[in-house]
């Protein structure tokens, strides 16, 4: 059951039954949701820097572009059709086409904010979810097919899953708790990441050669801005400037703090050194894990969630590196494991005293854990299969993978005809012709 629905229903007696509320627009809620939408939008380029710093310089732009372009292609797909499939009146499985081309999406109230704003806010989620997947196939996937993939994926995979949980679909009706997208966004993206990493295959240098981050400060910068944006992601999911938003906000602040501390201590224990890349990863994992729980658990529980998720993720990451699965930037270990821990612990630590909606197992509602598990399994299964089919379809038209030569030269030059950092020596002006100057 989604945070939004609580608001729309002001905590309905029958969680899951979707009743569009007919409230008036609140200026204060609108102010906060305007800001939240901007914050979530900012997360996607920030992700580009988080990812871009971790790859080699010759692939920096390509990696960043994988995030930036999601803003264009997924964003448009959302306005044209995906929003409708996710949030328009429809079946338990998928929304209708009532809102396609934004028809019927106007300034009227949706909850306590204008409907267009709600649509835009949700759109920012679709964009970043698609961008998250890119971490699994950096440094080797051709750019054209990538664009086709994220566009189709956001329509065929993201929209339905969002509908299930938030759009009045079956998982919402079952009362699955996902405050801001632990399942819909992170587990969903991670499942897709695993599949695409396997289908595209490992980088030629993977496990043969050291592949070292080219700009760790960019990764730290991305982390900082992602965290900043995440306040809109989680606290904005309360859809208003209310107590639920305040709780979600505070948890979004303290869970990553807990994760950061734990991650550093694990680093110190294992290698004697607290790494910066580790700190960045720990923060993100804490943010991921608290996402489904943000508005449902106490701040202390949030710290616990961050700490547990960090531990799990830390070891998942070490294990993954020993496998042949080149999930290059560890989308599965960070967002998959983090999302999983978060979704399950939400089922355990949810506290009606704080959220006024539902209790978790720890507070006597054991069944919640079952629902959470069901939501996780269903999402993973659907996302994995959907991703696989989309990729198989694209392969019919074009290869997914850059040639070994292109991979060697780097995708910036070969896919984008640019270098991230250039001194310009030996670059000969071809066009406009030099003549133009003598003219």
């Amino acid at each position: 059951m989604s945070a939004w629905m609580h608001i729309l229903l002001d905590a309905a007696p029958h969680p899951g039954i979707f009743l569009p509320a007919a409230e008036a627009i609140s200026a204060a809620d609108t102010a906060w949701m305007l800001m939240s939408t901007a914050l979530v939008l900012l997360m996607t380029p920030a992700l580009g820097f988080f990812y871009g710093g971790l790859v080699r310089a010759k692939n920096a732009l390509n990696t960043m572009m994988m995030s930036f372009m999601a803003l264009g292609f997924v964003g448009l797909a959302w306005a044209l059709i995906a929003y409708s499939l996710a949030f328009a009146e429809g079946s338990s499985w998928i929304g209708g086409t009532g809102f396609s081309l934004l028809s019927g999406v106007g300034l009227e109230a949706k909850g306590s904010i204008p409907h267009v704003l709600f649509m835009a806010y949700q759109g920012t989620f679709a964009v970043i979810t698609a961008a998250l997947v890119s971490g699994a196939i950096v440094e080797r996937m051709r750019f054209g097919p990538y664009l086709v993939f994220i566009t189709l994926w956001s329509i065929l995979v993201y929209a339905p899953v969002a509908h299930w949980v938030w759009g009045g679909g079956w998982l919402g009706k079952l009362g699955a708790l996902d405050f801001a997208g632990g399942t819909v966004v992170h587990i969903n993206a991670a499942a897709a990441a695993l599949v695409i990493a396997l289908v595209v295959g490992a980088r030629k240098d993977y496990a043969r050669q050291a592949i070292v981050p080219h700009n760790v400060p960019f990764t730290l910068l991305g982390t900082a801005i992602v965290w900043f944006g995440w306040f809109g992601f989680n606290a904005g999911s309360a859809l208003g400037a209310n107590a639920s938003a305040a709780l979600a906000f505070v948890n979004t602040m303290f869970a990553p703090m807990g994760a950061l501390v734990v991650w550093s201590l694990l680093d110190l224990r294992r290698t004697g050194k607290a790494t910066a890349v580790g700190a960045a990863t720990g923060i993100v994992v804490g943010l991921v894990a608290v996402t489904p729980a943000a508005g449902y658990v106490s701040p202390l529980s949030a710290i616990v969630i961050g700490a547990i998720a960090a531990t799990a993720s830390y070891h998942a990451l070490l294990w993954r590196a020993r496998t042949r699965i080149d999930d290059s930037l560890d989308v599965v270990a960070a967002h998959g494991v983090g999302g999983l821990i978060g979704a399950l612990l939400t089922g355990v630590l949810a506290d009606r005293a704080w959220n006024g909606v539902a209790d978790g197992a720890l507070f006597g509602n054991a069944s919640q854990l079952t629902v959470q598990t069901l939501a996780i399994v269903a999402t993973i299964a659907y996302s994995a299969i959907g991703t696989y089919l989309i990729l198989k379809f694209i392969v019919l038209m074009a290869g997914l993978r850059a040639s070994s030569r292109e991979e060697g030269i780097g995708l910036d030059v070969t896919q984008h005809g640019e270098e991230a950092y250039s001194r310009g020596e030996g670059a000969i002006l071809v066009q406009p012709e030099r003549r133009s100057a003598e003219r």
């Binding site: 640019e418 030996g426 670059a427 406009p432």
Partner: protein
């Protein structure tokens, strides 16, 4: 003494270093360079401007060796550095009149035999 200067592909550096290690070459100096030769140029576009990049990233190795070591060194690079595609690089062998080890002032032969630390040994 000779100075072996080799221009190799960045993606081949690790293989070359390993080959040199096996050939008992311990000391060397490396720098990033850009080379022009027979390789295809890359075309880049920045807004209204199209440029042709005639230079490709290469790595330059500088290895001072005593004469009887020149052969093995060159062979190691030739075998480990080649891909068969245009752009594999060159090796230049230059005469050297004198070599000093700054730390000790030792000269020539003895100047280029690194002290063996466990780490170096295990590398």
């Amino acid at each position: 003494m000779k100075l072996v200067v080799a221009i190799v592909r960045p993606e081949k550096v690790n293989d070359v270093l390993e080959a040199l290690y096996r050939a008992d070459v311990r000391g060397l100096t490396m720098s990033r360079v850009q080379g022009h030769g027979g390789e295809l140029e890359e075309v880049e576009t920045y807004r209204g401007m199209t440029v042709k990049v005639e230079l490709h990233d290469k790595v330059r190795l500088e290895i001072a060796v005593s004469d009887h070591f020149v052969g093995p060194t060159v062979r190691a690079i030739l075998t480990a550095g080649t891909t068969g595609e245009v752009g594999d690089g060159k090796i230049f062998v230059l005469p050297v009149e004198k070599v000093y080890r700054i730390r000790t002032g030792e000269e020539d032969q003895s100047a280029v035999t690194p002290v063996e630390t466990d780490d170096a040994a295990s590398s």
